[in-house]
């Protein structure tokens, strides 16, 4: 609190000392602005979230917020770092990037640090979520793309300096967040400085079932960064960015270890030029470097006295991209190439203290593992008669290698041996949009996205990285996954009644990467509580299908609202179920059309708001209703999840031009519930519950 007070006082002092200008005359050169103008009639589902939609929300991280988008869910393992899932696609099936192309390799095998956790929510300028394998320009995309675009400095006609400060508090967690942003510059040189701290305690679940539970999910995160832009001449800009994000003592009750420390450093250099000639409309160049040092242990667990586990992982991602935008009459073409080089190395040290002696074993999780991917991409957009056409192509060369010495061969079956692979992957998408009547559009999109296996799926050694209580073993010889998808979307826009969209999709995924149990005669688990070992394998095929609906009322009315609903159904035509009796696997059987595991249930959210004081004061109430998930994987012994309904209330008040306050109550009825994708508390069969009732307030000062 004291630190927050100092921060606010400092900001007010800054307000008095600086002659602030409202940036009505800003010149924005970011690539996103250029793309937006041609994305309005895209044939697939794209959700674009702006900064003002995020500000003031009670969110701990970006992944937490993403769950409010239809058909986007998240895997919760602790208080923070919710890992996004789009239409049942997750982890590397999604291409999650920062700032239109920066990639970060997560250090933690258990994904304590998904890409979305490496950016502060308050630094976000906008978020794009593209569902399906349609946007191929940012890298291989199987199930979708999430582009987290952070705020950037921009030039001003005359020198200006601005600042923003945010303080937020949440009950239940006793969580505080503070964020400071200073930016400004002139026509040539412009800058942005940012810093944030987030300190949260443990939280309690709701007590609607008669008792609440405290979950050890406290965390501390802080980060800072600087961006410096330079415009040597009109329509040309260079931007250098440096960011650090640090995590300390981040507890994950659903994982066998906690994050002792996580230190992430990112540096990027961007060059952007527009209107270079009558044909060449844009040129974007980017190079980046990201480094994650991740240390985790079980020192805050009861079993530390008898078994100590410490894992230390270093993950690097170095890459870049170049994109050329051209336009000839109605034909828009984007051509480019990108490259990424992922390096990962780390080990787990396990010490057993039994019978008065200690035994130590060091297992490498990754051993100088490297994945290199180089891709060529092209996008084409045009208007043919009354049809708008979007097409994209992508060709990737992917090479992986590792210094692993593990050999796992039994009865001539090689479970883990040759570690080198190379693939050439081809992805393609094509879509068409037609306006049927005034305001009613129909779109059809077809796509085939291919992605190579990731570091985890290829090389991980015996870590419980799945949703079930099994240690997982990588398979260096996995084949790439391919998603063949069709999307049909109807959009209707009417000034008087609002905007609607209805989308249906079907995905046929080949060589789907999943897990299969390995015999204990081949390998035994290395994590306390693990029931056995599963290895990543390619399943022949699986299917996803689903639909989503969205409605937003016109902005012009005082009373407004929105409604979204989404459902995904995942199935596998054939799968082997291992029959477990007691602790023994006693047989197996083939199941037909079993459910895919970790698919979110049907849900809908309805929100209603009213604008008072010419829109300065906006209270909103929203209800989220989530159905039972009974379509669960029998082969994976996945338990069903009961449905729930939540009621939330929020209010935003722009007091004066420079100060706004927002607050609210989440989970008003203190409902005790958990999402289907929440992980189990380690060592138990019980799920990690979501927080109970939370009162929150956020104060935002801008000058």
């Amino acid at each position: 609190m004291k630190r927050s007070a100092i921060l606010l006082i400092g900001l007010i002092a800054l307000t008095l000392s600086v002659k602030a200008q409202i940036n009505t005359d800003t010149i924005k050169l970011t690539p996103i602005e250029i793309r937006d103008s041609i994305l309005k009639k895209i044939p697939y589902v794209l959700t674009n979230i702006q900064k003002d939609q995020i500000d003031g929300e009670a969110i701990r991280d970006v992944g937490d917020y993403l769950r409010s988008i239809p058909n986007v869910s998240g895997v919760r393992k602790g208080g923070v770092a919710v890992d996004p899932v789009v239409r049942g696609f997750k982890f590397s099936q999604l291409n999650v990037i920062l700032d239109n192309g920066v990639k970060v390799e997560n250090g933690c095998p258990n994904r304590m640090d998904p890409v979305s956790s490496h950016v502060e929510a308050e630094d976000i300028e906008n978020i794009e979520v593209i569902k399906g394998p349609f946007m191929l320009k940012y890298g291989p995309a199987l199930g979708g793309v999430i582009n987290l675009v952070s705020e950037k400095p921009h030039p001003y006609e005359k020198f200006e300096i601005h600042a923003e400060a945010l303080y937020g508090f949440e009950t239940n967690w006793d969580g505080q967040k503070e964020h400071l942003l200073v930016y400004g510059g002139n026509k040539k040189i412009y800058f942005l400085l940012t810093g944030a701290i987030r300190d949260y305690g443990n939280y309690q679940s709701g007590n609607s079932d008669g008792h609440d539970t405290t979950f050890n999910a406290s965390f501390r995160k802080y980060g800072y960064g600087a961006k410096l832009g330079y415009s040597p001449k009109k329509n040309h800009s260079i931007l250098i960015s440096y960011n650090e994000i640090h995590g300390r003592n981040v507890l994950y009750p659903a994982l066998p270890m906690d994050e002792k420390s996580d230190d992430t450093r990112m540096i990027a250099l961007d060059y952007n030029a527009t209107d270079l000639s009558a044909v060449i409309k844009s040129l974007d160049l980017k190079i980046y470097y990201s480094d994650v040092d991740h240390l985790m242990d079980n020192s805050q667990r009861a079993n530390w006295a008898s078994k100590q586990m410490v894992s230390d992982v270093d993950a690097l991602n170095i890459g870049g991209r170049a994109e050329l935008g051209m336009q000839v009459k109605k034909h828009k073409i984007f051509l480019g190439l990108d490259y990424e080089n992922i390096y990962k190395d780390g080990a787990r040290t396990m010490t057993m203290l039994m019978m008065g002696t200690t035994t130590t074993k060091v297992t490498n999780l990754w051993k100088d593992a490297r994945i290199q991917n180089i891709g060529l991409f092209a996008e084409y957009k045009t208007l043919l008669s009354s049809f708008e056409i979007d097409a994209a192509l992508r060709l990737d060369y992917n090479h992986a290698n590792s210094a692993d010495t593990l050999k796992l061969i039994k009865s001539d079956i090689e479970y883990f041996n040759d570690v080198s692979t190379q693939f050439i992957n081809f992805s393609i998408s094509m879509g068409v949009t037609k306006e049927i009547t005034d305001g009613l559009y129909v779109s059809l999109a077809l796509g085939r996205g291919t992605r190579s296996p990731n570091m985890l799926e290829r090389f991980i050694k015996l870590m419980p990285v799945g949703y079930d209580n099994f240690d997982y073993l990588g398979d260096p010889q996995l084949k790439p996954e391919k998603n063949n998808e069709v999307d049909l979307t109807f959009k209707y826009s009417n000034d008087k009644i609002g905007n609607f969209y209805l989308n249906g999709f079907y995905s046929y995924v080949q060589d789907y990467i999943s897990g299969v149990m390995l015999p204990s005669s081949v390998v035994t688990p290395q994590t306390s509580g693990s029931l056995g070992v599963k290895q990543f394998v390619n399943m022949k095929s699986v299917g996803f299908t689903g639909a989503e609906f969205g409605y937003t009322s016109p902005e012009k009315y005082r009373l407004g609202g929105s409604m979204v609903a989404a459902y995904t159904y995942g199935y596998t035509p054939t799968v082997t179920k291992y029959i477990v009796t007691g602790s023994n696997v006693t047989g197996d059987t083939i199941l037909k059309n079993d459910a895919l595991s970790e698919i979110p249930p049907l849900e809908t959210t309805v929100s209603i708001y009213y604008k008072f004081l010419k829109g300065k004061l906006v209270p909103k109430i929203s209800a989220r209703i989530v159905a039972d998930q009974r379509h669960v994987s029998e082969a994976f012994y996945e338990p069903y999840t009961p449905g729930f309904a939540l009621l939330n209330f929020s209010v935003k008040y722009n007091i004066i031009k420079y100060v706004s306050v927002s607050g609210g109550i989440n989970n008003i009825f203190d409902r005790s519930y958990y999402e289907h994708l929440n992980r189990k508390i380690i060592g138990t069969s019980g799920k990690l519950y979501e927080p109970g009732r939370v009162f929150y307030i956020t104060v935002n000062v801008k000058i």
Partner: protein
């Protein structure tokens, strides 16, 4: 481009996607052989009667009155032998079986492996775990993890723990840990000086169950009872005296050698059904 052309492109695109989805390298399934299943049960007897734990009611061949509090052990590499010399090693899923008299679930082992139909002459197994498989920290979960054998004494896991109490020569209760695992050879006279260990001795041994012939029929489960006659650990060929060897023998290779040799006739075959 007119409308029919556009439709054609669309249809070709769908067809193209469909064709690239075809997969031609699916493995050809191997022909299945007729098989049945096998289930082992474990029974623990003392002097022909079921073990009663925590009761000072037994007397061994050396005349020691004793009671047993805990009995746990590993058997591994169970092998089924046919008269033509062929064998079936049980290791498709699990090759090391943990048995604990306090955990009923461990007293039955429903084997995963399909067993080819036919007549089998006998069953054999390794008592304990062979050197190649007895790797430290391969078990991380209870109850197996509690069988850990200290690394300094050879590592891996105990083959067996029989924990109990015997009345010593002054008729006082004394604890015995009748443990079998990897033995050590010491340069010095003192076993406390683990630095003087110059070699380790593998004390696992092979057991061939007498009268263990059986038939496996297609799609049927054969149940075989494996009996441990506990008193036999203390007699034939050697009479084992707790008063002589003391309560702890993990660092006493001569004692463990005697246990190993006594173990050869500890197991018999019970009911086969």
């Amino acid at each position: 481009m007119n409308m029919p052309n556009f439709k054609r492109i669309l249809i070709y695109s769908i067809l193209g996607l469909s064709l690239t989805s075809c997969h031609k390298d699916d493995p050809i399934p191997e022909p299945e052989t007729d098989s049945g299943k096998i289930k082992f049960t474990f029974t623990h007897l003392v002097d022909g009667l079921p073990l009663e734990q925590d009761t000072m009611k037994y007397t061994n061949a050396a005349g020691n009155n004793y009671c047993i509090n805990e009995l746990k052990y590993f058997i591994s590499d169970v092998t089924l032998h046919k008269s033509d010399g062929t064998t079936k090693l049980i290791d498709d899923w699990k090759d090391i079986c943990y048995v604990d008299s306090d955990i009923p679930a461990t007293l039955t082992w429903e084997v995963y492996d399909p067993i080819p139909v036919g007549t089998y002459d006998s069953v054999s197994f390794t008592f304990g775990i062979c050197e190649a498989k007895n790797i430290s920290m391969m078990f991380v979960n209870p109850p197996e993890v509690n069988m850990m054998w200290p690394g300094v004494l050879g590592g891996g896991y105990h083959y067996m723990m029989i924990n109990g109490v015997w009345k010593n020569t002054t008729n006082v209760d004394e604890i015995f840990n009748f443990h079998l695992g990897i033995g050590q050879l010491y340069k010095s006279d003192s076993i406390n000086n683990t630095d003087s260990i110059y070699a380790f001795v593998q004390n696992y041994f092979n057991v061939k169950l007498p009268n263990s012939s059986f038939v496996i029929e297609k799609d049927k489960t054969r149940q075989i009872e494996i009996i441990m006659n506990i008193e036999s650990w203390f007699e034939t060929p050697h009479v084992y005296d707790h008063n002589y060897w003391g309560g702890a023998i993990m660092q006493n290779q001569p004692a463990m050698q005697m246990v190993k040799e006594n173990g050869s006739d500890v197991f018999t075959t019970g009911i086969i059904q």
